[in-house]
């Protein structure tokens, strides 16, 4: 549990991926991102990016920034997740350039692009756009709310 980098084989790719990803902190990779937990627990203050180039710990955030980040976490949590089942249509996460392994926790964006949860969530916390097609993620989500 909690490790999406399964080392069932010892080929080049799993060797390159090495042991655990440093960002592998969530106890449930398919569930909501660990950020919210961290935001409420505050045991080891995590870093946030109210803007992509700004890095702050939770205690340094203004109220406005906290609201913005909370909203963003909420949006990210609404994006569907799943486990890679070996489907041949999607093979690689373009952020870490790693092939998907069966059981990897994936996140599906509204534009249909798919990434590792750990890889894309870190990016979405900085910028709510799909790195492959630049489609703004929140706009797509908001339209789907409105139509529902």
């Amino acid at each position: 549990m909690g490790n999406c980098f399964k080392r069932s084989t010892t080929d080049d790719i799993s060797l390159l991926r090495g042991t655990d990803s440093v960002r592998e902190t969530s106890s449930d990779p398919v569930g909501p991102p660990s950020y919210q937990e961290a935001l409420s627990v505050q045991s080891t203050p995590p870093l946030y990016h109210p803007s992509p180039s700004v890095t702050r710990s939770v205690t340094q955030l203004t109220e406005e920034e906290q609201i913005k980040i909370a909203k963003r976490i909420g949006l990210i949590q609404h994006l569907p997740t799943g486990k890679y089942d070996g489907c041949k249509k999607i093979r690689e996460c373009v952020i870490c350039m790693g092939e998907f392994m069966v059981g990897d926790a994936l996140r599906y964006l509204p534009c249909m692009h798919t990434y590792h949860v750990t890889c894309i969530d870190d990016w979405l916390m900085r910028s709510l756009t799909c790195p492959s097609c630049m489609e703004p993620v929140d706009a797509a989500l908001l339209t789907s709310y409105e139509t529902n």
Binding site: I95, C96, W123, R126, P131
Partner: protein, 169 residues
């Protein structure tokens, strides 16, 4: 042996570039023990003023790569509107995306975590062929490029010559 993802990703790219070199540049590390600092040799693109030149550049990757872009600097002297006089390259894909609320239409031109050494270098090589004078990093070069093209050409030719001499020794 727990290496950050950024180091693994860069190592993977280096291995790939060594195995399948890309036309127009060659890539390696400044220091074999530091995967975050690259040295790249750009071959002046054919049919441009920079043709025949060999331009050495350094790329400095942050630990947060690919979430944040590297910085790029020409070590070899070069005269170009989008490269400042210290050699620092100023192109939009090396800039972090701005605030989400306002940056949609420009997001495609900004940094994205799918950029690699190869895609960065392809952008830089196309910038050499096709300067963007809207936001020049070297105002004098941009002005010459627009208003005194002969003088601009002369300065570029001098850099190309110098770069060839440096490569020989």
């Amino acid at each position: 042996m727990s290496e950050p993802q950024s180091a693994l990703l860069l190592r993977k790219q280096l291995a790939e570039l060594n195995k399948n070199p890309v036309e127009g540049f060659s890539a390696g590390l400044i220091d074999d023990n530091d995967i975050y600092r690259w040295e790249v040799l750009i071959i002046g693109p054919p049919d441009t003023l920079y043709e025949g030149g060999f331009f050495k550049c350094h790329l400095y990757f942050p630990k947060e790569y690919p979430l944040r872009p590297p910085k790029m600097k020409f070590v070899t002297e070069i005269w170009h509107p989008n490269i400042d006089k210290n050699g620092d390259v100023c192109i939009s894909i090396l800039h972090e995306p701005g605030d989400d609320k306002f940056g949609y239409e420009k997001a495609s031109e900004r940094w994205l975590p799918v950029h690699t050494v190869e895609t960065i270098l392809i952008s830089v090589i196309s910038m050499l062929a096709d300067p963007n004078d809207e936001s020049p990093a070297n105002v004098d070069a941009a002005k010459e490029w627009r208003e005194a093209y002969t003088e601009f050409k002369r300065k570029v030719a001098r850099c190309v010559r110098k770069s060839q001499e440096q490569e020989e020794c």
